[in-house]
Amino acid sequence: MSRIIDSLLKRFDKAVEANVRSSARSYGRRSFLATTGTVLAGAAAGLPILPFDRRANAATGDEAADPCSYWRQCAIDGFVCEESGGSITQCPPGTSTSAVSWVGTCMNPDDNKNYLISYNDCCGKQAVFGATFCNNNKGERPGYRMGLYNDINWCMANTDKGYHCTVSIVMGQAE
């Protein structure tokens, strides 16, 4: 049974991870974990808020394995494609790339520069059971700034609109 749990924990914890950090700080780690379970330990332990370099934190184990913490994921909202059969810039086989996308501006801690990141959805298949869902929102805006909005299916303009996963493409440095 632990298999399903682990998988779901993985899937949903990452989704709320960014969101719950401030809660964790406020209520204290212990009581927070008592409420929400134990696997958030790494993420909730007061480590820096996004973005930060995944590689730079390789020694911390759980953190290193958290795809939501990778710097370019500062405004992602979705299942990561690298755990869905694709990679961080490639949609999985048999899907299509979204014709439209939203954009984030994330700082790369290696060079302290801001980069524009295009978050594209991969389309036409179901979300992968057990894939990590990340929900970060740096610079995110409601639909009146559509190109910055992440609470919408970016497969909307494709022929096949089913949402599968999200890739994160470095488009270049931001001013």
């Binding site: 949903f12 989704a15 709320v16 960014a18 969101n19 719950v20 401030s22 809660s23 700080r25 406020s26 209520y27 409420t35 929400t36 808020i49 996004l50 500062c74 405004a75 439209v100 389309c123 036409g124 298949k125 179901q126 979300a127 929900n135 970060n136 929102n137 740096k138 610079g139 995110e140 805006r141 409601p142 639909g143 009146y144 700034r145 559509m146 609470d151 919408i152 299916n153 497969c155 909307m156 303009a157 022929t159 096949d160 609109k161 089913g162 949402y163 599968h164």
Partner: protein, 379 residues
């Protein structure tokens, strides 16, 4: 056909039955039936947002949060309870092959007591496939029209006839998002990325002319407004990421900013999706709040629920929350707040009124849904 099948299988069953005399001795034969409706009383409706496949709506007892039944809608669904609580509307997408193929955007009118369909019709498949939110599905004040948000990603509003059940027309609303109906008449107000608020007036065919745009009243770069809005004392009340209420008077030809109400304090900000709830009898606005905000924390789950007295614009209560991201409140003199957390749980709060407003969790149920996005009550 059904009759025939019954007959066929009855043979299997009846051949195994003992003489009817035996019935008297043990368990009596029973009859299969369908419950006609959920039990009377207060009810809560929680949407479980489907990214793939169906978005169920779970219907709970408003007192103890026990499950009473469910409603099934399509993908990327949202819902809206009618003002008279007689109809629960939903808007959702049905993909012919579940994850690909032709899309039908469907409006359902559900009976919130029998959980059955009163009306079902399709509208343009341009309907926004967005997370459930109050601004993307609304009914006009008289209940005759539905206002439905589209995104292709170009934005527009579909006007549908709620009575006849049909798509009337599409009104382009470029750069704007959400549609809240005016208090009277055939108009709606939408929030635009250039910092204005626009009012569109439509006719009986659903068509609209040019909008009346407000002056620039907010800065989408520096302190953006959430799409969530409450109708309070005839005005539309929005909230900014930073914690300021924007009170919009959209009763005239052109919307104007009536006032702003900065209500938070250093280190605290609003957070969530459908993050405000207004109770009219007590003139109180409830809002989900979190501490130590940062760029990107605007959907953070709540650590506290704040109560704002809309007569004095003062925060009159701060109560412990349970990581909720959306909430609603009853319309009753004694408000009951229902809030849903990011992990699928539902929380009920009793409200102690007075100079100091205090919320106390009186019931909570974990694991009600996978991905709860919006909650409604029918009282």
């Amino acid at each position: 056909m059904k009759r025939q099948i019954h007959a066929v299988l009855s043979v299997v069953v009846l051949s195994g039955l003992a003489a009817s005399g035996a019935f008297a001795q043990g368990v009596e034969p029973e009859t299969l039936s369908v419950m006609e409706r959920i039990p009377e009383g207060p009810h809560v409706y929680v949407m479980d947002f489907g990214i793939n496949g169906a978005s169920p709506i779970y219907v709970l007892n408003g007192d103890d949060l026990s499950l009473l039944g469910s409603i099934t809608t399509g993908t990327f669904a949202t819902m809206k309870m009618s003002d008279d609580k007689s109809t629960l509307y939903s808007s959702s997408a049905y993909l012919r092959r579940y994850t690909y193929g032709e899309v039908e955007a469907v409006i359902h009118a559900w009976d919130p007591q029998t959980l059955s369909i009163k009306k079902e019709f399709t509208v343009t498949p341009k309907v926004a496939q967005a997370l459930s939110q109050r601004g993307t599905l609304n009914a006009s004040a008289d209940g005759k029209y539905l206002l439905i948000q589209n995104a292709t990603p170009a934005t527009s509003i579909t006007i549908a006839d709620a009575v006849e059940g049909k798509d009337l027309a599409e009104i382009p609303t470029p750069g704007c998002w959400t549609a809240y109906p005016s208090v009277e008449g055939m108009s709606f107000t939408t929030l635009c990325g250039d910092g204005t608020v626009a009012k569109y007036t439509y006719d009986a065919s659903g068509k609209a002319g040019q909008p009346a745009k407000s002056d620039k009243i907010f800065d989408a770069d520096k302190d953006p407004l959430y799409g969530d809005a409450m109708r309070i004392d005839g005005k539309l009340v929005y909230v900014s990421y930073g914690g300021t209420l924007y009170v919009i008077d959209d009763s005239g030809e052109k919307p104007t900013l009536a006032k702003t109400v900065p209500f938070t304090e250093e280190g605290w900000a609003p957070g969530g999706y459908n993050l405000m709830a207004y109770n009219k009898p007590t003139n109180t606005l409830f809002i989900l709040m979190h501490s130590e905000p940062f760029d990107g924390s605007h959907k953070a789950p709540a650590e506290e629920i704040w109560a704002i007295d809309m007569a004095t614009d003062k925060v009159v209560g701060r109560s412990e929350a349970h990581h909720e991201a959306s909430l609603t409140v009853s319309a009753t003199d004694d408000p009951v707040v229902y809030a849903i957390d990011h992990m699928g749980g539902v929380h009920r709060y009793a409200v102690e009124k007075g100079d100091k407003v205090t919320l106390t969790q009186t019931a909570s149920r974990e694991g009600v849904t996978m991905f709860p996005t919006i909650v409604e009550a029918d009282f």
